[in-house]
């Protein structure tokens, strides 16, 4: 077993070599690679989760459906699929803050958040967020939670895919769903930050 850590150039050459064989064997094509990448670059991302959150903030009946069965509720928007076949939404309140992780690999709800950011997949986050969640949130994400709020860390060890319904920011009563969705960040649905305050939203 080699302990050589490859450079970017070496990895690129290795992947190209592997891809060339897999193309010849009928397993891959560059067109299929490009299409799959394009889907996760441009079509499936946190803007979809934000739409769902905005609806949940605006419509209490929808929120109940979302918390009862997230995959089914997201299907009302045509949202779902790979790595979100069985989703569970966990709700932040004045007393409870939720945050998600996958300590064993990189499980993440792709249909609503897209592909995970690199820090989510790297050893520092995966090792520490279960061990010292308050310290990680405070020191690495600038998010300071009082001890009175219970921190719930969801380790995505099975094929269930957890994600967070952040608290609706104050003073957003008159906002439309698209304006509410603009306040919902990827990080707020992972649980490493709050939704944005309305002053940072585009004017409706």
């Amino acid at each position: 077993m080699s302990v050589h850590v490859r450079t970017q150039e070496e990895i690129a050459a290795r992947v190209k070599a592997l891809e060339s064989i897999l193309i010849e064997k009928g397993i891959m094509t560059t067109a299929a690679v490009d299409r799959l990448a394009e889907i996760y670059e441009n079509e499936v991302g946190p803007q979809l989760g934000a739409k769902v959150v905005a609806r949940a903030w605006a419509d209490p009946d929808f929120k109940q459906r979302l918390l009862a069965n997230a995959s089914k509720a997201c299907a009302e928007f045509g949202i779902g699929g790979l790595q979100g076949e069985d989703m569970v939404v966990v709700e932040n309140t004045a007393d409870v803050h939720n945050v998600i992780v996958c300590t064993l690999c990189s499980c993440y709800p792709w249909p609503v958040l897209g592909l995970p950011p690199n820090w989510y997949k790297e050893p520092a986050y995966r090792s520490r967020i279960v061990r010292q969640p308050r310290k990680v949130l405070r020191e690495d994400f600038g998010y300071d939670l009082p001890d009175s709020i219970e921190v719930r860390v969801w380790d995505s060890s099975s094929e269930m895919r957890y994600w967070v319904l952040p608290m609706r920011p104050e003073e957003t009563d008159g906002l439309s769903e698209p304006d509410l969705a603009a306040l919902v960040t990827r990080d707020s649905m992972i649980g490493v930050g709050p939704a944005k305050p309305p002053t940072s939203a585009p004017a409706s």
């Binding site: 397993i27 790979l82 520490r128 279960v130 060890s157 094929e159």
Partner: protein, 232 residues
């Protein structure tokens, strides 16, 4: 296996580095490596549990230091060699060629079915739920203890929950069992539960205040909790 991938509760790995903005794919090779998961699954290389086990068998130092999608390349190579699709000497020769000729083109092949496969896979997914008529052994509210032994093959029973006691808070139904499927066995469906552990239970007096961890377990991972010397 007690591998380095099992990171929960490991100390000394530094702070989380959070860049302000980064692209979905940082290099073209990441797109190809990402796509290999779906396309090699279609070709029968692995299911998702075997895919993970291939990653877990990387050298631990390389695992910790390599960019994330390189893990996916390792598991593709692992199963490609195992199933006879890949000749690693040939792969090494081609790697050398592309190192010396980084702009050399890839072979061209058209396969509209493969593009259609991608278009269909993303919205449909690949559910891991499996029917089983076995009744669940546990219910919400039960106190359970995670088995403490160390299996050698693939498992999702992370080290930091082994031997610890928590409460079943969700019951999800029956799913593919990774300790079977990840080790080359069948789906062998088992009930999945979410178990809630307190920070104190997992980490002792130095736990963060007011912290709980939720961890999903398959039924064979847990036993009824033993409290005060008697079965609960």
């Amino acid at each position: 296996m007690n591998g380095v991938h099992d990171l929960g509760g490991t100390d000394g790995l530094g702070r989380v580095e959070v860049p302000g903005k980064e692209p979905v794919f940082r290099a073209d090779w990441e797109k190809a490596a990402f796509a290999m998961f779906s396309m090699c699954s279609r070709a029968g290389f692995f299911g998702v549990d075997e895919f993970r086990y291939g990653i877990e068998q990387m050298h631990p130092a390389v695992y910790l230091l390599s960019p994330y999608y390189e893990h996916w390349v390792h598991t593709v190579e692992h199963y490609g060699e195992k199933n006879g699709v890949l000749d690693l000497d040939e792969l090494d020769r081609r790697t050398q060629y592309f190192l010396e000729h980084p702009d050399a083109p890839l072979p061209h092949r058209d396969d509209p079915d493969l593009v259609a496969f991608v278009e269909g896979l993303v919205p449909a997914g690949a559910p891991a739920g499996r029917e089983s008529d076995r009744p669940p052994r546990f219910k919400v509210g039960d106190k359970v203890t995670v088995q403490a032994d160390s299996p050698l093959g693939h498992t999702r029973r992370a080290r930091y929950i082994r031997g610890h006691t928590g409460e079943v808070v969700l019951a999800h139904g029956t799913f593919i069992y990774p300790d079977s499927a990840g080790n080359g066995g069948g789906d062998a469906p088992e009930h999945v539960y979410t178990v809630k552990f307190t920070g104190q239970e997992l980490w002792g007096p130095e736990a963060d205040p007011n912290e709980v961890v939720y961890f999903d377990v398959w039924e064979p991972y847990i036993d009824p909790a033993v409290t005060a010397g008697a079965p609960a």
